[in-house]
């Protein structure tokens, strides 16, 4: 170790090693010189063995060149490890609730855009709305998707003009919700079908596709795109339930009746924020459908921009 080594030392000690009472042993004083601005630390018992060795070099003329002993003590290492652990835990929260959300959302948005482009080439880019008041007949009802099979893209202009989120079959956390985005509850109905098209999604973490679910207002468009076309729903109401209230997934939510002619969409996510104690449920009512062959966006998707 040469002179610049020593010049850097007051900085490191100022970081609080001495404040922790885990400071350097007496041997450092000779390495730094008696003119050091750093006060003489209290004798550390951990450094006691080195003090004995110190006696041999301190008397010699080469005291200034003496190699500084590593000021590593057991307590010091434990303290620094604990401080590091605290920082890492806080970093994890920053990563989980903020950084990773942004990165994952970007990836999921791109994946959804690719699917949309595949099903309706150029339509999303052109952003031209299809004609209103045209009846395209009964909507095409697609088959139940396979597990983790992406079959739809959800658009909610209230969540942002660019909001696109892939919908896949099943609600497996590992295979669908944590990676692809939205999951379709197995055996609930499909878009446009009489009954309940029920989806689950994270409200926070993993891209948080339903982060803004509580901002929905009555009449907001909720549009599902599949390979067959666009299914437009209108948001009707929010509901807050316990995590085991599976009746919200019924063809008529919260009712035992199976026979129905109405077609609903149900979005489920966590409530409140930073908790999983409850579930927030958003219901929408089917309004219209527009086949992919029209090669235009459903009018509902462009109304917020106008």
């Amino acid at each position: 170790m040469d002179e610049p080594t020593d010049a850097g030392e007051p900085q490191t000690t100022a970081l609080g090693f001495e404040a922790l009472g885990l400071g350097p042993g007496p041997d450092d004083e000779s390495a730094r010189g008696s003119g050091s601005a750093v006060s003489e630390p209290e004798a550390s018992t951990a450094a006691a063995p080195s003090t004995a060795a110190q006696g041999t070099t301190k008397g010699g003329a080469s005291a200034k060149k003496a190699k500084p002993r590593p000021r590593v003590t057991v307590l010091g290492v434990i303290g620094e490890l604990l401080l590091t652990a605290g920082v890492v835990v806080m970093l994890f929260l920053v990563w989980q609730l903020w950084l990773n959300d942004i990165w994952t959302r970007g990836e999921q948005n791109e994946a959804a855009a690719d699917l949309a482009e595949q099903w309706a080439p150029g339509v999303t880019a052109s952003a031209t709305p299809g004609p209103t008041d045209v009846d395209y007949g009964d909507p095409v009802i697609m088959d139940q998707p396979g597990d983790a099979e992406p079959f739809g893209v959800l658009y909610v202009p209230r969540f942002g003009a660019d909001y696109k989120q892939t919908i896949a079959g099943g609600t497996s956390a590992a295979r669908v919700l944590n990676t692809i985005g939205l999951g379709h509850y197995n055996d609930t109905q499909m878009p446009g079908q009489a009954g309940n098209f029920a989806l689950a999604g994270h409200r926070q973490t993993h891209g948080a596709p339903l982060n803004q679910i509580a901002s929905l207002q009555v009449g907001d468009a909720i549009v599902v795109q599949t390979k067959d076309g666009w299914y437009t729903y209108r948001f009707r109401t929010l509901e807050y339930v316990t995590p085991t209230t599976v009746s919200v997934l019924n063809p008529i939510p919260q009712a035992d009746t199976v026979e129905t002619t109405d077609s609903l969409i149900t979005l489920t996510s966590c409530n409140p924020l930073f908790s999983t104690a409850e579930r927030i449920i958003a219901y929408g009512v089917f309004e219209s459908w527009q086949p992919s062959s029209v090669e235009a966006l459903p009018p509902a998707l462009t109304e917020l921009e106008q």
């Binding site: 590593p70 620094e80 990773n100 999951g183 509850y185 689950a200 997934l249 489920t268 579930r279």
Partner: protein, 52 residues
Amino acid sequence: MYGALWRVLPGPWWVRLIIMLVLVAAVLYALFTWVFPLVQDIFATPDVTIEE
């Protein structure tokens, strides 16, 4: 521990600072890429579905 690392690094203070920053960046990358996703998958994934 970190003080010892600082003393072990070669060069003038600014070279050590750069090395330290590179080390910190490498550690952050490892945490973000491998450690945190693993930790999240194992015990920090919120349960969002409705089920009995």
